[in-house]
């Protein structure tokens, strides 16, 4: 069972690496941020699999923080970094 969980964790990790192609292709910053969100969803899954396989319950807490940070990252990106051009003062 433990080996099986580890195998799945590696599979999800490879899956994540392939998704990095979307960062390279873009074309907009939002497309790149999507992958960051995918990292958090997949990251939570991987950490929970590892926590179960290795019996290290502290990894569950890390998964929790991952899930919360994803919300903050996305919200900050949408509200601050990617604000519509015309609403920035002085620029363009």
């Amino acid at each position: 069972m433990n080996d099986f969980n580890l195998l799945l964790a590696v599979f999800l990790l490879v899956n994540l690496m392939i998704a990095l192609m979307r960062v390279a292709r873009g074309p907009t910053d939002a497309d790149r941020l999507l992958v960051a969100l995918l990292f958090s969803t997949t990251g939570v899954a991987i950490l929970l699999l590892l926590a179960s396989a290795e019996d290290t319950l502290v990894l569950i807490d890390i998964a929790l923080v991952f899930a919360l940070l994803a919300a903050i990252t996305g919200a900050v990106f949408a509200r601050r970094a990617w604000w519509p051009e015309e609403e920035k003062d002085g620029n363009s």
Binding site: F4, N5, T28, A30, V44, S52, G74, A75, R79, W83
Partner: protein, 104 residues
């Protein structure tokens, strides 16, 4: 092999399959909106199945409840963020991809 273990494996594999489909969709779908659909629906379902599978391995009720709470938080987070990104993309004037343009 015992039945809980078998169920656990079935759910975990299903979850991993959804994650794979999610990555394929992320690479294949044509614009940021359709990719957001993939991220919000497919990957959260994948996480749901992984967590369902792990529930069968959980050492106790408290541990099981905790990972369910994590799943709910992840759902709420990704749903909210999807909405914020979609709204921002629209405000920015990122045009949605249309099926007709593809066929011409």
């Amino acid at each position: 092999m015992e039945i809980p273990e078998l169920l656990s494996i079935i759910f975990l594999v299903t979850g991993a399959a959804f994650f794979m489909a999610g990555t394929i969709g992320l690479l294949r779908f044509p614009d940021v909106y359709t990719r957001l659909h993939v991220l919000a629906k497919v990957d959260n379902l994948g996480l749901g199945f992984i967590i369902l599978g792990l529930l069968f391995q959980a050492p106790g009720l408290m541990a099981a409840l905790k990972i369910i709470v994590i799943w709910l938080l992840a759902l709420a987070a990704s749903s909210t963020v999807s909405f914020l990104i979609a709204r921002q993309a629209l405000n920015r004037g990122v045009a949605p991809w249309k099926a007709k343009e593809q066929k011409i």
